[in-house]
Symmetry: C2
């Protein structure tokens, strides 16, 4: 998979984006398939070179948009990968970013070298370009760390949701099955959830209570940190 005799790259910084989404209880990431030789048909996370006069944070936003059409995504810096041999065209140090978003199917490349953009379960990843698997693994570890210390879910769930829906988000990210009673008890103890005083309608199961996030408490916990404490 290592192409030969490649032109040396002019720029030597790149950014790469690891975009997580939860789909029906499964954690997925956004991949692209490249359309140009010598990397034709390679699967990769969205990433490209930073322009000379471009801040790296701006580059990450621009490149994510170009390759996937995603806009206004809050990207957090993940890690910088600087091994000398990580790219076949020369020395490229890449700064990776990550984000957990509400999964949308409205993704398509706008410009650049992506033929398609698509969601892939993190545990069914194809062979990825360069050191992209390592980049994904680092971001995944950070996401798992974060969910243990900060409330997560606000951006992923509908405004009103059941405790089961919230539990599925945690289970998808942590890749474990959680005990229903413990999860509920713990989650309710944080003062993070408010009852909507309403039951879910429709569905064949026993109607479940609907909750919403207490935004103030959510932001308080996001700043101060908490421990979910698995």
């Amino acid at each position: 998979m290592q192409p030969k005799k490649l032109p040396r790259l002019k720029s030597t910084f790149s950014v790469d984006c690891v975009i997580f989404g939860v789909d029906d209880g499964v954690l997925k990431i956004l991949l692209i398939e490249r359309n140009e030789p010598p990397f034709k048909a390679w699967k990769a996370i969205p990433g490209n070179l930073v322009r000379d006069q471009e801040d790296i944070d701006d580059a990450a936003k621009r490149i994510l948009y170009e390759l996937t059409g995603l806009k206004d995504i809050y990207l957090e810096q993940s890690y910088t990968f600087g091994r000398t041999n990580r790219h076949p065209q020369g020395r490229v140090i890449t700064v990776s970013y990550y984000s957990l978003i509400q999964k949308t199917d409205d993704i398509r490349p706008v410009t650049g070298f992506a033929k398609t953009a698509f969601w892939c379960p993190v545990h069914e990843l194809p062979k990825l370009a360069f050191d992209h698997r390592e980049i994904v693994e680092k971001a995944l570890a950070q996401l798992k760390h974060k969910i243990n210390y900060q409330p997560i879910g606000f951006e992923l769930l509908p405004k009103r949701f059941t405790l089961t829906q919230l539990q599925h988000v945690y289970e998808a990210i942590l890749e474990v099955d959680l005990d229903k009673r413990n999860f509920r008890k713990k989650m309710l103890s944080f003062g993070l959830l408010e009852s909507c005083q309403e039951k879910q309608t429709g569905g064949s199961h026993r109607a479940a209570s609907l909750y919403r996030f207490n935004k103030k408490r959510y932001h308080q916990l996001a700043t101060k940190g908490f421990i979910f404490g698995l």
Copy 2:
């Protein structure tokens, strides 16, 4: 403080190191004073350009050694700073690293542009080169986050220490006064400390009990995380 007409740099990656040490209850960081024009007399954290064929982690170790004489320091990647105007000689993206070490006075520049290396309290920092203050602040925030979620102190304290000594480390890093009784109760509840069944000798105060870390539990908590929960 912005020199004019500087030669453009050849390399465009650098690394910078934020080295924390605790000295008599005060959190300090290691600074250098540069000795060459146009940056003569500038104060900075130890940092320099990455070589063409050098991994960034290796570069951080090399540069820290060259500028301060420190060796075998475990450096953790902190953050990457990539604003276009952060360096007067052109586009330089810097990857910062940080470490918390037992403060040593055995520091002196080995080679390179440092005239001296010295410890400075984090709250008495002089004007620093480039965006080094921002780099220090980011690392400091990360250190404070870390002490809330992982045991810290192993590397900073003598083998046998008093609870007061441990409390001073926490107070120095968190920059708060902690309640003695609560601190003791909490610390002892983690199963992290073992009594040496011995009292501190010497000193004019009432002899305090000596403790040591339970290494197994320490590493367990370091991996699994805990919450100090201020």
